[in-house]
């Protein structure tokens, strides 16, 4: 993953709470085997409404989604993050996120940042009134800034570091092979092991 120090773009105000991942991308669109190409699936059902904010021509190039609490709850489908990213969204600002969505977002370099409700509301108001005003999510300074709205956000130190350095987490963990092996030696022997049927089937032929 490439290093990310922040994101700046104009806003997409989505004034709703509890937007679950089934709304972000309905399940029918999650049947592809790829990680890309989901832009047309983003909010597919809601986008049928011509007044839906994503259909606003003034927001065609907007890339910062601002929304209400509990964004991305429900299904673990990472397709929700892929769809947002493929649409061109670089950051999502909300007072709170579904846990799994939040992990998925950071894994894909989509900046999902928790900003207090008051500041999110101010950003929603601002973006509705002035669609052209840029919003900056600054990962280095851990701050969201737009016009006169400024809000700090907290982020897990490890996750922040990984994003800033663009590091591959699997690579990092593979580097801890000795620790993993040591742990494996201490596991109780009664714990289940799968695939014994496969082994047996093999030894019969």
């Amino acid at each position: 993953m490439r290093p990310i120090s922040g994101h700046t773009g104009t806003g997409i105000p989505l004034r709703r709470s509890g937007v679950d991942t089934d709304q972000i991308i309905p399940s029918g669109f999650c049947r592809s085997l790829r990680k890309t190409g989901y832009q047309d699936a983003l909010f597919a059902t809601w986008r049928v409404d011509p007044d839906f904010v994503l259909n606003d021509p003034e927001r065609a190039d907007a890339s910062v989604l601002v929304t209400g609490p509990d964004f991305g709850t429900g299904s673990s489908r990472e397709h929700a993050v892929w769809a947002l990213r493929d649409w061109g969204i670089g950051a999502v600002i909300a007072p709170s996120f579904g846990d799994i969505f939040w992990r998925n977002a950071l894994r894909n370099g989509l900046l999902a940042v928790r900003v207090p409700e008051q500041a999110t509301t101010a950003l929603l108001d601002l973006s509705e009134a002035e669609p052209w005003t840029p919003i900056t999510v600054d990962l280095v300074g851990q701050q969201v800034r737009a016009s006169d709205v400024v809000a700090d956000f907290e982020i897990d130190a490890d996750a922040r570091q990984r994003l800033l350095l663009g590091r591959d987490e699997i690579e990092l963990t593979l580097g801890k092979d000795d620790l993993i092996k040591a742990y494996e030696r201490g596991r109780p022997r009664w714990l289940p092991r799968l695939g014994q049927d496969l082994v047996r089937a093999d030894s019969h032929d």
Binding site: R16, S17, G18, D20, D22, Q23, P26, S27, G28, C30, R31, L33, R34, K35, T45, G68, P69, D70, T73, G74, S75, S76, R77, E78, V81, S96, G98, D99, I100, F101, R103, N104, R107, N108, D156, A157, D158, E169, I170, T173, L174, K176, L179, I180, Y183, E184, R187, P188, R189, W190, L191, P192, R193, L194, G195, Q196, D197, L198
Partner: protein, 466 residues
């Protein structure tokens, strides 16, 4: 004896490979299905150098989300591609797979427990949010996205920060006819759809101790609907009895050693939780949802609420939207709501006990004219058991469709979908907009309420049929 710890703390501690701000945790079993794994396997293949699956022997794959439940043959080309990819990946990496048509196939969260693969004190991960189900065994079980699936495949570990803890104390004994589903819908109505966000929940109290493993799984399954990281229940005799003699349960000396170990998996008396919630269940009645998230629920005897009933502005707006989507008028009695379809199944309520409860209501009765009822066992094992007990015949005679195992109408990904704006009483877990079909309207209910509703044609409890 050291610092007093919660069940969650104890199970967490025994999986730490490398402590840090996020602890690197070992994964005892990784459950995989066709809908969220393809990109993860592809990621391993595309890495430089190519990566393998570290522990295929701790990995189990099933086909459940996309498969048809009316035929043992997959015909849909997209589904064929998905299951074909999973089969190829499992063959390449030596992973045990229960494909569509296999006699152990079924929903991942039904299959794992019924084979005895999930045991107390284990850590369980799956690319599916309802992995919380397995916490019913006193396991640390949680859902993850596809990137994390790839991480687990490659390393058998995951780095996570410890969650805050919450105790949900169910107080009292629920009246007859009140089921695990009702307990959870009542809890959700009380604390809200994300009332447990960021917490690891432990369910406690007499109602839990008296409940079966099936009921416990229903309860832990719905933890994610409260936004919880995990839901857990301390193992006890009920747990051991359920596990004994299952194909993957320990045997002989190993069994004794395992039980001795499991006995230690209790929250210490003087351990504290970050939050405690009490729910009095002694006068509970069956619950049903009226809205578009699982916390928008009321007792079935009551009426559709008015948005003005909600003090919080956000809740009011959400209620207005939900009522519009559901096409419901405030004040309408829940009992007066007519349904087109009844769905009995899913990882929430597709186990044998759920089918028994529904069959008890349907026995000797017919479902209402114009109502379609799908009964979808959670696994082929459940299906066989139900047939042996004569339940399949009960469903068939009542006029319901007795189908094969899969996720079916829980999620609208396979052919089992509602058409247009059909209204459904469903034993599944999510009544989100479009979950069961693009404009579908879902009312979440328990298995007994589902069966009574099918007979009455409107939302109903079994007593309404007498």
């Amino acid at each position: 004896m050291g610092t007093p710890r919660t069940l969650y703390g104890k199970v967490w501690d025994r999986h730490v490979v490398d402590p840090g701000t996020a602890d690197l945790l070992y994964v005892d079993v990784h459950l995989v299905h066709e809908a969220t794994s393809a990109q993860a396997f592809a990621g391993l293949a595309e890495a430089e150098p190519r990566r393998g699956v570290r522990r295929p022997d701790l990995t189990l794959a099933v086909e459940d989300h996309n498969v048809p439940t009316d035929s043992l043959t997959v015909r849909d080309p997209v589904t064929l591609l998905q299951v074909g990819t999973l089969r190829q990946n499992c063959a390449t990496h030596g992973i045990e797979l229960y494909p569509h048509g296999h006699d152990r196939q079924g929903i991942v969260h039904v299959v794992g427990p019924e084979l005895g693969i999930v045991q107390p004190g284990m850590s369980v991960v799956c690319g599916d949010s309802h992995t919380s189900t397995h916490g019913a065994f006193g396991a640390l079980a949680f859902g993850v996205g596809t990137s994390d699936v790839e991480h687990v495949l490659a390393t058998q570990t995951l780095a996570l920060a410890r969650a805050k803890t919450m105790a949900v104390e169910f107080v009292g004994v629920p009246p007859r006819g009140v089921q695990a589903k009702d307990l959870m819908l009542a809890l959700l109505a009380e604390i809200g759809a994300n009332g447990a966000r960021g917490y690891a929940v432990e369910y406690r109290g007499e109602a839990i101790r008296n409940s079966s493993m099936e009921a416990r799984m229903t309860i832990c399954n719905l933890s994610i609907e409260a936004g919880a990281r995990v839901g857990m229940i301390a193992p006890d005799e009920v747990t051991y009895e359920y596990l004994r003699d299952r194909p993957y349960a320990p045997v002989g000396d190993d069994w004794d050693a395992a039980v001795a170990d499991w006995e230690s998996l209790r929250t210490d008396d003087d351990a504290t939780f970050d939050r405690v919630v009490h729910v009095d269940v002694s006068s509970l009645t069956p619950f049903v949802t009226w809205g578009t998230n699982p916390s928008q629920a009321v007792p079935l005897a009551e009426a559709v609420p008015h948005p003005d009933d909600f003090p919080d502005a956000e809740d009011r707006r959400a209620a207005e939207r939900a009522l519009e989507y559901m096409d419901l008028t405030p004040g309408t009695k829940m009992r007066d709501i007519l349904v087109d379809v009844v769905f009995l199944g899913s990882c929430t309520n597709g186990r044998i006990e759920d089918l028994r409860q529904a069959a008890e209501v349907l026995r000797g009765r017919k479902i209402a004219a114009g109502v379609r009822m799908l009964v979808v066992p959670g696994s082929m094992t459940v299906r066989r058991q139900a047939e042996e007990e004569g339940l399949g015949k009960v469903f068939h005679d009542a006029g319901a469709e007795w189908r094969l195992a899969g996720c079916s109408m829980c999620l609208g990904m396979n052919p089992d979908r509602l058409a247009g704006a059909q209204r459904c009483a469903s034993t599944s877990n999510r009544n989100y907009e479009g979950r069961q079909g693009t404009h579908a309207r879902t009312h979440l209910v328990s298995p007994a309420v589902a069966a009574a509703t099918a007979v009455a044609g409107h939302l109903a409890v079994p007593a309404d049929l007498d």
